[in-house]
Amino acid sequence: MGIFDKLSGWLLSIFGKRHVAIGIYGPPNAGKTTLANRIAMDWAGDVVGESSEVPHETRKIQKKDRIVIKQGKASLTIDLVDTPGIATKIDYHDFLEYGLDEEEAKKRAKEATEGVIEAIKWLDNLDGVILLMDSTKNPFTQVNITILGNLEARELPFIIAANKIDLNGSTPATLKSAFPKHEVVPISALNGVNMDLLYEAMVRKFGKKRK
């Protein structure tokens, strides 16, 4: 190792400046694209994709590269990866309730299945994950348990973000008690509430060198 590498390694250890790929994972309609857009708008003045109330709006991986998040003297450069929602079942009939015609619904269902596969495969390309859960819903779902188990098995650093705290019925404390061993940050991606806490956690957690 040359003297330059040693010096840059020493500076990295102090200021934690790193370039990492961070994925946003969770079930459909947890607010993943809304969060990706919030992060991209806050630090790059741009959006990543369109969000919608219709489940499985995001059916392909969407990326925004080289977003620099700054926290005091530390900064973190991330390639932000917005993933399709993970589900164990996709029934095209569910989309008909949102006003889609049968052909559109079937097409959406097909694309959504491909999106789930792509999202799972992308776990192998990431340095860290924001696991996004809807704080108005029961956190003990199989999708949450499966994603969490995979992050633990891969030893990927992750933060659980309890989204939608602006809504009535939101209980972020339930998420904290459900996953006591993990860091849970309550946020509203839509209104930008507590995003400073999330950015602080991201720089701290994802800025560390992985073993």
């Binding site: 299945t113 199989q142 348990i145 098995a153």
Partner: protein, 115 residues
């Protein structure tokens, strides 16, 4: 109304490789069977099963309902391989089994039978 649930022994699943095991589970579920696995799936196996399920989803098969309790403690082989395994896994077709409540200790599911 008759509802059939198949309890699959640990020995049966241990005799199969990962791919074979998941293929067996998915084929049974696609036939409409509800399975209770004595030895649950690892998180990676669960993710792989979701991937394989998504490849098979069509107008007649909408996917699976799966519920697992992950073990807090790992056995010797789990520690060695770094794999945490569910204590038990229930898996069935999404149109036949629906989870109505779940917390860290209780799973309540409804099995929908056809009259």
């Amino acid at each position: 109304m008759e509802i059939k649930v198949n309890f699959i022994s640990q020995e049966k699943l241990n005799g199969l490789g990962e791919q074979e095991k998941l293929k067996f589970i998915l084929e049974e579920v696609r036939k409409g069977q509800i399975l209770v696995l004595e030895q649950g799936l690892t998180a990676e196996e669960q993710a792989k099963l979701i991937e394989m399920t998504m490849e098979k989803v069509n107008e007649k098969f909408s996917g699976i309902e799966m519920e697992s309790y992950m073990s807090e403690k790992q056995n010797f082989w789990g520690r060695l391989l770094g794999k945490k395994r569910a204590r038990m896994t229930i898996v069935g077709p999404a149109d036949k089994i629906k989870t109505v409540y779940r917390d860290k200790d209780v799973i309540k599911a409804v099995i929908v039978g056809k009259r």
